[in-house]
């Protein structure tokens, strides 16, 4: 990489201001999508979701499918080839056309999954997609203007984290029908971007020598992607806690009205939350290791208990605890959801609190 003097990059000023306009456009797009998602959450109809494309239960969750446990439910397996291959208790023997039709029986505990749905939600997903593209364009133009990786300061981190959270959310929405998370993911995204544009904004500029390393690309990228996924997990965990309260109230015979009544099923949220921790945790582990390698090159030690390192470690330990909690009797459900929320709080504190409250080698805020 070539690091030019600021004076020489004057020609790139055009690009830099272009990227500044994109920030506004992107925030507007996300805000509009947020509004539409909120409308869907409030006025949509609670609809059952198709069973085949729900979030898979992660490796840590013990299967509940003991023989004879629960009712057998239909899982719409991809491409069951012939109409005869239905599901029926212990399955009748095929005596059909070819004599070799599959007769399938599936027992499982697919949750009764439903969420508030409305056509506005589909539009909101599309608008989120537009916001995502604007976000991407913003990062690319800023990178080009500065002639470096566009994540060298707080402002740039926030923009990149938003991109990853939204990407993770879009993936969840398209792959797992999880667009019910839209409100909960876009709310922090819009807030963060607002804070970033208002208070953290810094001119496009060169990096200090400590950041001249390809490890910045590796370490920071991994941390940003993991943060994006943790954010979706955190959003799902918070929604889970709300939805779980609703369920509890229902179970006690109370009538639940309003948005609370339309929250998606808690089991579903629990799975989404776990799924994204499972994706993010190894990435976060890798980010910490890459950071240690970089610290080893730059500062002469791979681990030095700098506040940033400490909080990355704390975050990591809390998420490790989350994964354990899910394998520990009595800690599943709400308790592990709270641990997930705690992990997310630690992550955010690491991001904002540590940069502004403590002095350390990482304070490039």
């Amino acid at each position: 990489m070539v690091y030019q003097l600021a004076a020489e990059t004057a020609a790139d000023q055009g690009l830099a201001s272009y990227s500044d306009h994109l920030i506004i456009a992107m925030i507007v797009a996300y805000a509009v999508a947020l509004f539409l998602f909120a409308l869907e959450a409030a006025y949509g109809r609670r609809t059952a979701l198709k069973g085949d494309r729900l979030v898979p239960v992660g490796a840590a969750a013990p299967a509940a499918a003991a023989p004879g446990a629960g009712g057998s439910s239909t899982v719409d397996l991809d491409a069951v080839p012939e109409p005869g291959g239905g599901t029926g208790g212990d399955g009748g023997t095929g005596g059909d056309r070819d004599g070799d039709d599959l007769s399938v029986s599936v027992r499982g505990s697919e949750p009764q999954a439903s969420a508030s749905r409305n056509v506005l939600g589909a539009i909101a997903v599309a608008v989120t997609g537009v916001g995502f593209l604007l976000n991407l364009a913003q990062i690319v133009t800023r990178g080009l203007a500065a002639d470096r990786w566009p994540w060298g300061n707080m402002f740039e981190f926030v923009v990149a984290i938003s991109l990853c959270s939204v990407a993770a959310f879009l993936y969840a929405a398209l792959r797992y029908q999880a667009r019910y998370l839209g409100t909960f993911v876009l709310l922090p995204v819009v807030l963060l971007l607002g804070i970033a544009a208002r208070w953290l904004y810094t001119e496009t500029g060169p990096l200090v020598p400590a950041l001249h390393s390809y490890w910045i690309a590796i370490h920071v990228s991994a941390a940003i992607v993991a943060t994006g996924a943790f954010m979706v997990s955190g959003a799902a965990a918070i929604t889970y806690l709300l939805s779980h309260r609703t369920e509890a109230k229902r179970a006690m015979g109370e009538r639940v009205a309003g948005i609370a009544a339309k929250l998606p099923s808690p089991e579903l949220l629990d799975r989404v939350s776990h799924r994204f921790v499972v994706i993010a945790f190894p990435l976060w582990t890798f980010a910490i290791i890459a950071g240690a390698i970089w610290a080893d090159e730059a500062w002469g030690r791979f681990w030095g208990w700098d506040p940033k390192e400490v909080w990355s470690f704390i975050t990591w330990v809390i998420y490790a605890a989350y994964l354990h909690a899910r394998a520990t009797a009595g800690w599943k459900g709400t308790r592990s959801a709270w641990i997930g929320v705690l992990g997310f709080a630690a992550l955010m504190f690491n991001f904002f609190g540590v940069n502004y409250m403590f002095s350390g080698l990482h304070s490039y805020a």
Partner: protein
């Protein structure tokens, strides 16, 4: 028996096949009550079970996170000893109390060590039995096919004209990713061993990481050193300005390398909003592994340490060493060398302070306190008077100002090279602004001093940490293990082929995921369908009833 919801209530699952269930065993002691009237051995066993339970691990993990917090709030000796000293000055009554709880050394404190050691004992006690159980499982044959496959979470059934033998033969190739075992009229298969292996590897790699860290701490050393452009350095204890050996480090046997800092170049952003921000530092160095070894070159930069003889040499900082030539009252040149001046920490212009000591000057020793300004400019100070300040960290227009003293420098006592003990000296006066080449004639014929130029100097850190590579290796293994444990699905599958009443063969395919996942059902179904399709197209399967197509 569990009901549909297993989220609450802590019911343990039974998967009916007797494999080591996730979290079983480890969980077993979770809620164990205290054993009444037990023998010492019984107590020990009970304590061990509690310690190695999942719940204890969970609590210890929380403590590990919680205990790390004060270390980020309070200054730590490992990170910034000066700030600890500052804290003592600012909070003289509180600081000793915090000290009692090791709150300035959290990460090397006995209580923090207790947490992580307990955690790792728990981990060992938890993982070793699991590893052994897994090993047995890997060596054992997949378990016998259950009688009623229809009760498995996934089961499919179809008939074919192929012979049972033929079905099982095809079954082998369809379920090729499973380890298969033949039991009578059926195949029993198991796959996804890597999940459990990954889990064991991950946890053991964490142990490896801890051991590597401990080894680095015990056997490593770290030292700081300041080297002026053109000067050399040999790796001996006495060459260091400060040296921090590990508790078990061998200080008499340091790696015998040496190097010279041939030149040093610092660049700063010149214009625009980022003016003055450091842009790049580069030191050219010539080094030798050992005396008499071949000379090599290295360009030292912030992210490019020199690696020599198991020691890493890092660039920590950079500043300037103005050069002075001093003649004493008798006209002799008694001093001619660069003197490192230390930059003031908060000053963006890198104004630096230093002292020049000339104890051998005649008739009386000379000493100077000086200020070095890399880019000196007159400006109006806060009091309205013009003052000289450095406006840029690069040496664009360097200047020094000196205050001269004469008398006894007190060199018989050990003293810092950055401080002048003026208690037995008399102030001679202050120089004006000196630019390179300027000479200041001292009053009273005490001599003269010439500011001849400046050199760059680098502050370096040498570290030797034998735990570096093992730590990296352990950490990498941990990530690999983690991927295995999080993404591999352990599962079992069965194929049974028996002759039906109508002469056709009845084929049953069943699957059981030890971890529930919709992906399991999909995989089993895909394989069952593939088996059926193969048999359909199989010429060898032209049995009695498949003549329709």
């Amino acid at each position: 028996m569990a009901t549909t919801s297993t989220r609450k209530g802590g019911k343990k699952r039974t998967d009916g096949t007797g494999g080591p269930a996730a979290g079983d065993g480890a969980d077993a002691a979770g809620g164990a009550g205290a054993p009444g009237g037990l023998s010492p051995l019984g107590w020990a066993r009970w304590a061990w079970r509690i310690l190695t339970s999942m719940r204890t691990a969970l609590i210890l993990l929380f403590l590990l996170a919680l205990g790390a917090i004060p270390g980020s709030m309070l200054p730590q000796r490992v990170v910034s000893p000066d700030q600890v000293a500052q804290y003592y000055t600012d909070n003289p009554s509180l600081a000793p109390w915090l000290e009692r709880f090791y709150l300035f050394d959290v990460y090397s404190s006995p209580w923090y060590a207790a947490i992580y050691l307990l955690l790792f004992v728990s981990l060992t006690g938890c993982v070793i039995p699991r590893a052994l159980a897994h090993l047995r499982l890997v060596r054992a044959r997949p378990p016998k096919t259950p009688r009623n496959l229809g009760r498995m979470p996934y089961s499919a059934r179809f008939t074919t004209g192929a012979e049972p033998e033929r079905v099982l033969e095809q079954g082998r190739s369809v379920f090729k990713r499973y380890r298969l075992e033949r039991y009578g009229d059926s195949l029993s298969g198991e796959a996804g061993y890597l999940r459990e292996a990954g889990n064991v590897i991950f946890h053991i790699a964490l142990l490896g990481l801890l051991v590597s860290l401990a080894a680095g701490y015990a056997f490593g050393y770290r030292g700081n050193m300041l080297v002026v452009e053109g000067d050399g350095f040999a790796n001996t204890l006495t060459s260091y300005d400060s040296f921090y050996p590990g508790v078990a480090a061998d200080q008499d046997d340091l790696a015998p390398f040496s190097f010279t800092l041939d030149s040093f170049d610092a660049k700063f952003v010149e214009d625009g909003g980022f003016s003055g921000q450091a842009e790049s530092f580069a030191g050219e160095m010539t080094y030798k592994d050992h005396p008499g070894g071949p000379e090599r070159h290295h360009t030292l930069e912030v992210n490019k340490p020199l690696s020599v003889g198991g020691v890493q040499v890092y660039l920590l900082g950079h500043a300037y060493a103005p050069e002075f030539e001093v003649r004493d009252g008798e006209g002799e040149v008694v001093f001619d060398q660069p003197v490192p001046f230390l930059p003031r920490s908060e000053d963006p212009g890198k104004t630096a302070d230093g002292v020049v000591k000339v104890p051998d000057a005649l008739p009386e020793g000379l000493g100077f306190e000086g200020v070095f300004l890399p880019t000196a400019q007159e400006r109006t100070g806060e009091d309205g008077e013009p003052e000289l300040a450095s406006v840029f960290p690069g040496a664009e227009d360097p200047a020094v100002t000196l205050t001269a003293y004469s008398g006894d420098l007190g060199m018989r006592q050990a003293q810092s090279v950055y401080q002048l003990d003026t208690s037995r000296m008399e102030e001679l006066g202050e120089s004006g602004t000196l630019r390179p080449g300027d000479t200041w004639e001292l009053p009273d014929g005490a001599g003269e001093v010439t500011f001849t130029g400046y050199k760059d100097f680098a502050t370096l850190q040498m570290t030797h940490n034998p735990g570096r590579l093992p730590a990296l290796l352990s950490a990498s293994l941990a990530v690999l293990g983690l991927l295995g444990t999080l993404f591999v699905r352990p599962r079992r599958a069965w194929v049974r082929a028996s002759a039906g009443p109508d002469g056709r063969t009845v084929v049953e395919v069943a699957g059981l995921g030890k971890t529930e996942s919709t992906a399991n059902g999909q995989e089993f179904h895909r394989l069952a369908t593939e088996l059926r399709d193969r048999l359909r197209e199989d010429p060898a399967a032209d049995g009695p009833a498949s003549s329709k197509e």
